[in-house]
Amino acid sequence: MSSKLWAFVVPIVSVIIALLISSIVIVLIGQNPIVAYTALFRGAFGSKLAIASVVIKSTPLILTGLAVGFGFRAGLFNIGAEGQMVMGAMIGTAFAINVAWMPAVFAIPLTMVVGMIAGAGYAAIAGFLKAKTGAHEVVTTIMLNWIAEYLSSYVVTVPMGVGFGTPKSPEIANSTKLPPLITVQATELTSGIIVAIIAAIVIYIILEKTTKGYELKGTGFNPYAAEYGGIKISQNIVLAMAISGALAGLAGTLEVMGVHHRFLGTLSGGKGFDGISIALIGQNHPIGIIFAALLMGSLRTGSNEMQFAGVPKHIILIVQAIIIFLVAADRIVRTMFIRKKKVKVS
């Protein structure tokens, strides 16, 4: 089988195995796995509302997945998408609150740009430290995550905090709210998904078609050869981190512009970390990442419906864990196929 086909087969088989193993757990707690999975499926695809929810959930995941994946392609492990997302959302919001006078045509893209710059700048700190002093980006981005988290919870309680009871920023200007594509009751499927897909395509083009992509990937594969080839390593490290951070920052800004319409302290909710597994399930390929994010998003959305069927939400974490585990050790799945083939032959 070609490697391109494997890229699809492995995740699909992993999902099936994960569901099978989890069904044992479901039986153990006295529930019917068929009922549970029907609910899971219905919850993810059974209605307009469900599909809208899947898309809403997947949008930031596509972007954090791209952020981490892009870093990996350039040889960097950006574990800090979490913090960059928060910074993007925070500074994007600060901007969006104050531009009520601006027409949406300018306000919307500008807010996105501000969020991206914020994420990029924050990530560039780690890139700069790596380029300048060799500080390992895993350490610096982990530290920056915490700093961003503390900063954001401070910002929503004091400088930006409004209201009585809720640590939150004021609502962003109407002109910066993303127009919804479809509105299903209170659920607005915003145009954020379009931005995320465009981002994936742009990243694909950068990586595969441009000289910068050539340099970034080259640096990731072999920094020595890249340097020998006249590519400025430290510049590229900073740039790669910045692009990665811009994507994460965009994820945060879109959450504000499309979903919450204001900045909230715990906005990232682990999506930056989810980006790691999504990038890797998607094999660090922008298009693969879109699918991986949709898979993750639909599992999570569907799992809410599973709760109505009496299965606790944690089961879906276990399902996810097994899928990711099997994608990591994709040879397990491949071996299963090869063995099956042998059986057929004999």
Binding site: T166, P167, Q185, H260, G270, K271, F308
Partner: protein, 360 residues
């Protein structure tokens, strides 16, 4: 014939009651927080049992779940609970779509200018509960230093602190006892170890009673008090603690929060500053069932059973009766509005201890 009629009515009632459904949507913390989610659920469940309604709880993982979960709940239920201040926006968006479903928001303040007839929001006068904590702590401290450990300084946490500080100030003015307050925040509601470390840091600086308004971090704080107390007393048995305290008039104590946490370390948790969360849950369901539901914001304080102090089941023996008596008198003054516990930082700064003469 009468019998049949009764039977039919009964069946109808049961069928109707079965059709009545309560769904509670939690915030990301979920059940088991020993606070809002647990308290609301307890109240809602009690009410549902009484009227024979069906009750279900749906947990949210992340903020993006609030709207879909509330929507799904609204499609199925007659009363939907939204628990936790993070759900404010989502609640009002969804409630607009379902005018025939009742919504109860717990710890939610309606966004500026928004009121819906089918949404009732409950918030609590934490400052009044905090007042008890402060007053008792000031009365009981042997070092003259008491501590406050907060989670994230969001308004409910801060209201606890305003009350705590005022309580201590009132005691120290009335009894001319110098009391200093140490303050710190874990910036977290989930991590018990952080709570423990911060509490110990305050003990290290001389505090002997620490008020824990930090969610699950508080459990760690209680454990910190217990550890210090055991080191002092040499035992964690209630009798030994009481013995030791009666003899030496000193010890290390924690003060619990939200619900009665005294049982978690008997004798070590001096008291708990409680909120009437479960009564909000209870009344929310009852009002919808009885048709007396009315939208708007309800702020529950001492008067409405929305704020108070635990019965101090284990520590009553240590707390002087005079303090209990004083508290009872002060409670009356608060209920009557003669003392207003401040609920903002500015009001706290401006707060003057009124002259109070106890009738005894």
């Amino acid at each position: 014939m009468r019998k049949v009629l009764v039977a039919i009515l009964l069946v109808a009632a049961v069928v109707f009651a079965l059709g009545f459904k309560v769904i509670m949507v939690t915030d990301v913390g979920g059940l088991g927080d020993k606070s809002f989610n647990d308290g609301t659920w307890e109240g809602a469940l009690r009410a549902a049992k009484e009227i024979g309604a069906e009750a279900q709880v749906i947990q949210s993982y992340e903020q993006a779940d609030y709207i879909p979960n509330l929507t799904k709940a609204a499609q199925q239920a007659d009363v939907v609970f939204a628990v936790g201040f993070m759900m404010t926006d989502a609640l009002f968006k969804v409630a607009k779509q379902f005018p025939n479903t009742y919504f109860v928001g717990i710890d939610i303040t309606p966004p500026e200018g928004q009121t819906l007839p089918n949404v009732v929001c409950y918030i609590f006068k934490e400052e009044q509960a905090g007042f008890y904590a402060g007053y008792i702590a000031a009365a009981m401290t042997s070092t003259g230093k008491i501590g406050f450990v907060g989670g994230i300084p969001i308004p409910p946490v801060e209201r606890f602190r305003y009350g705590f500080e005022v309580g201590a100030r009132i005691y120290s003015t009335l009894h001319k006892k110098k009391v200093e307050i140490l303050r710190g925040y874990t910036n977290d509601f989930e991590d018990p170890k952080k709570g423990k470390d911060l509490t110990l840091a305050q003990y290290a600086q001389g505090a002997d009673i620490v008020f824990l308004a930090a969610g699950a971090c508080g459990n760690g704080g209680i454990e910190a008090a217990k550890e210090k107390m055991v080191a002092l007393v040499g035992s964690d048995k209630l009798v030994d603690i009481i013995d030791y305290y009666t003899k030496n008039k000193k010890g290390y104590f924690a003060i619990g929060v939200d619900v009665d946490q005294d049982y978690m370390a008997p004798g070590v948790v001096l008291c708990s500053a409680t909120k009437g969360i479960s009564s909000a849950g209870y009344y929310g369901v009852k009002a919808a069932w009885e048709g007396t539901f009315e939208g708007g914001l309800k702020i529950l304080g001492i008067k409405e059973d929305g704020a108070g102090v635990s019965p101090m089941k284990y520590t009553k023996g240590m707390i002087p009766n005079i303090v209990i008596a004083e508290l009872e008198y002060l409670t009356k003054l608060i209920k009557d509005g003669k003392i207003v516990i401040p609920d903002t930082e500015d009001k706290l700064k401006a707060f003057q201890v009124p002259s109070i003469t106890f009738p005894f």
